[in-house]
Structure formats: C-alpha cells, structure tokens
C-alpha cells in the first residue's frame, strides 16, 4: 500500500513524511513539518540566532531559552551522564577545530567538555566553561519524535518520518528499511514496525558523504565504520549510534541493550 508522502529540505538534509492517505493528511503533514522547522530554528549550530548559539555565545552568562530547548539540552546532558561520556554534547569546540562545524566565534573553545559544563535552572541555561554545546547527535532524532507525536495527536493512524536517515515508523505499519554504506559491504535490510532506526557513518576524515566526526576522550583513534541502532524513539536511536561506535564489539550488544536499543548492524562485526 502507498502512503501520502511529502519531502522538504530541513535540518540540513531531506525530511520525508509519509502518512495514511486520507482527507486532511496534508494538513497534518504541514503541522509536522512546522514542528521540525521550529526545532531547526531553536537548535541549529549553524544559525547564530538559534537558542543553542545564544547559549554558546553567552560567555558563561545565564541565557533564557524556550521550554523545548531546555528539554533537549536536559536530555542530552542526562544521557551524557548516563553513558559516562560516550555520548557527549559538549564536543562543539573539537568539531569546529576539525572543520566539521562552522566556527561560531573567532575565539577557540575547549575541545571537549562534559555534562557538568552544562548548568540548567528552569528555562535558564549557562555553560560553566568555554565549551560549545552541539546537539547534532540527538536533534534530528528528537525532531523526528516530535513530528511523530504531532501526527499522532492529529489522529493520523500510521506513517513514517525520515530525517536524513533517522527514521521512525508509527502505528501498525511494517516496512523494510535499507541500510547502505560502503563500510558495510552489501545492503543490509531490516523490518521496522512502530520503532525508530538511526545509522551513523564515521570515516577517517569527514567528507561530504559522511560529514560526522566522533570525538571522545581517551581514544587513540576515532572509530571508522557504520553503526545502525533500532530503538523505540528516534532520539535514542540517534544518540546510541555514537555509543555503539565507541563501544568495543564484544560489549556492544549488552551496552546498547541496557539503554533499550539494539545495534542491528555494525561494520566492525557485519561487513562482508
């Protein structure tokens, strides 16, 4: 069967929304897109006017932000603590040094910080040290989850939201998802039903094809390869791909499982 599908350029990539084709579907999709646009406006590292940038440029002062921003930053900080820093939203400085992210100011920031560098009081946020918070490792997935919630509130029975590969199906739909990357060898296919999948590829040097870079403390070399994680929510699947990449293959299933996810493909384990 077919979905009513729409696609817009958002979040630096292409976001596709497909829903059960019924009257009113387009209006529901419009609302879902507007929710994603709002996230982009709030959390974009590339936009100096975003609330995230205001936090990063505040020089340690308290910055008032919207409830949505507080939610995501809190989540990122909490997950950073829970994962013992394997997931780390304070690597903006390091990513700027690598040229993966644009420099938000002329001054250089601390390469990598930790969860304690982020202080939150109500809807006020400040940074204890000169780190840069970047939410790229979680924001796309978060936007997908918000869009799914919006669609469900609108009464949409089932659908798929895909933000540049961070994908979540909701409702009784079942469909195959293809994971394709040179580091995996052949195509990998999995069946998705009412869950999310995210895939991250890290190369020795970030390229246009794989622009992400993974920065972690105490690592002699950054991991290279592709990791796909299935989880109930897109933000969790998104965040766990980073944890998966940084966890040795032998311990990975247990670690990802403990967070409620499943690393279904890993190039250091599954490649042909």
């Amino acid at each position: 069967m077919q979905l009513r599908r729409r696609m817009r350029p958002l979040l630096g990539t292409y976001v596709a929304i497909g829903v059960f084709p019924e009257p009113g579907a387009d209006e529901s999709i419009n609302y879902a897109f507007s929710v994603i646009e709002k996230i982009q406006k709030l959390l974009s590292y590339h936009d100096p006017e975003s609330e995230l940038s205001k936090i990063n440029l505040a020089g340690g002062e308290w910055t008032e932000v919207s409830a949505q921003t507080t939610r995501v930053v809190s989540l990122a900080r909490e997950f950073a603590e829970q994962s013992n820093g394997l997931f780390n939203p304070t690597v903006g400085g390091g990513l700027e040094n690598l040229g993966v992210l644009p420099a938000v100011t002329n001054s250089s920031a601390i390469h990598i910080g930790n969860a304690n560098d982020i202080e939150i009081k109500g809807n006020y946020i400040r940074l204890r040290r000169n780190v840069r918070v970047v939410l790229d490792g979680i924001a796309k997935g978060w936007a997908v989850d918000l869009a799914v919630e919006e669609l469900q509130h609108a009464g949409v029975q089932y659908g798929v939201v895909n933000a540049g590969g961070d994908l979540r199906g909701f409702g009784p739909l079942e469909f195959p998802v293809q994971v394709r990357d040179a580091t995996l060898g052949e195509d990998k296919i999995t069946l998705i039903k009412n869950q999310a999948i995210a895939t991250s590829t890290f190369l020795a040097k970030p390229t246009a094809r794989a622009p992400s870079a993974l920065i972690a403390r105490n690592r002699l070399s950054a991991p290279v390869g592709t990791w796909s994680v299935v989880a109930p929510t897109a933000w969790l699947a998104d965040a766990l791909t980073k944890v998966a990449a940084l966890t040795p293959a032998g311990r990975r299933d247990a670690v990802i499982g403990a967070y409620g996810g499943n690393c279904i493909f890993a190039s250091d384990r599954d490649s042909v």
């Binding site: 729409r6 817009r8 350029p9 292409y14 293809q178 994971v179 590829t201 094809r209």
Partner: protein
C-alpha cells in the same frame, strides 16, 4: 506511485540493474502550488526567459550557475491580487536531479519549499531479490505492509545544501526579474 523501474525489475536480469536510476515522486506541480499558496484562487503561468547576460548576473549574485535559459514560474493570485510566485527548479543531488518548488512572496521571502521528485542513481529498490520475495510473501494482502518499491533508507545522509543554494538562486531571480514585473 508506480515507477518505470519496477517493470524493468521484473523483465531484466539483476546484473543489469546494478545501478538503476529511480525516482520517488512526492507532490505534483499542481499540489505544490496549493501547498505553497493555500489562499491563492488562481495560478498564472509566467515562465521566464533568461538570456546569457542575465544568467551571468544571476550567477554572480547567487554564486551558483543558472543552468537553464528558461525557468518555470507561476504567479499566485488571490482575487486579482498577486500573492507571490511558485518557481519550479532542478538541482543535482548526489548524482541525479532533484526537482522542487519554492514559493516566494511579494517581499522576496521564501514561504515554503516542497520536493516534487527525488532521483538517485543508486539504490531505492531493494537489490536483494530473495528479500523482496520473502517480504512480499510474508503476509499476502496485509494492508499495513508498505510497498517495497518506495525505499526507506537509513544512513548515507544527503545534505540539502544543493536545494538551499538553488533557493538562494531563485531569490536572486526574484530580485532581478520578478520583483520588477509588479506595477507600482
């Protein structure tokens, strides 16, 4: 939407289809117009002819090349009043073209961007034939089973930089041409 590629798939051996071009249709031109200007009562085709001098000027301001000498434009009108324009454009994605529509209002602001067609050289269709058969046969006639022809892909993120640059170029076209067509 059914794709040409699906019929091809059933007729030709797999080896030939190692790199099929496939397209995913999103909205049609008609649908895009209504989405971008929902209050519009009519759309009038006003395609632009851009001579080489103008194309050079566009390139200088936009930073990207104006490939075509003709641009498909629809003026969005509500009860005799111009609301803005819908411009149809193509940019190159990874290897193939992406066709999209941009809505620009009287102030030269972008009111929306909708992808019409997204083409890729590689992938889309599940290449593993045995998997296709397995999935298709899983629950015959299951209403909640999605069409395998429309791909759902995780990974290999494509930046939308190209469309954003395209929209920047369309804004230059608005400034240099469309804005001047309005009677003060």
């Amino acid at each position: 939407m059914r794709f040409f590629a699906r019929e091809l798939f059933s007729l030709l051996p797999i080896a030939v289809l190692s790199a099929p071009a496939f397209a995913t249709q999103y909205v049609s031109v008609e649908e895009a117009k209504k989405i971008l200007f929902p209050n519009s009562t009519e759309f009038v085709a006003e395609n632009l002819k851009l001579d080489s001098e103008l194309r050079d000027e566009i390139k200088k301001s936009a930073g990207t090349r104006q490939r075509s000498a003709e641009q498909v434009v629809f003026k969005a009108i509500q009860k005799g009043k111009t609301l803005g324009w819908v411009i149809i454009d193509d940019v190159v994605g990874k290897h193939e073209f992406i066709t999209y529509a941009a809505g620009i209002d009287l102030d030269g602001k972008v009111v929306g961007v909708e992808v019409l067609e997204y083409r890729e050289t590689h992938g889309g269709q599940i290449r593993d034939v045995s998997w296709r058969k397995k999935f298709a046969g899983k629950k015959l006639g299951d209403p909640f089973q999605l069409d395998v022809d429309v791909p759902n892909i995780s990974g290999a993120t494509l930046s939308c930089r190209n469309v954003l640059d395209g929209v920047k170029r369309l804004l230059v076209i608005h400034r240099l041409v469309l804005a001047k067509t309005l009677v003060p």
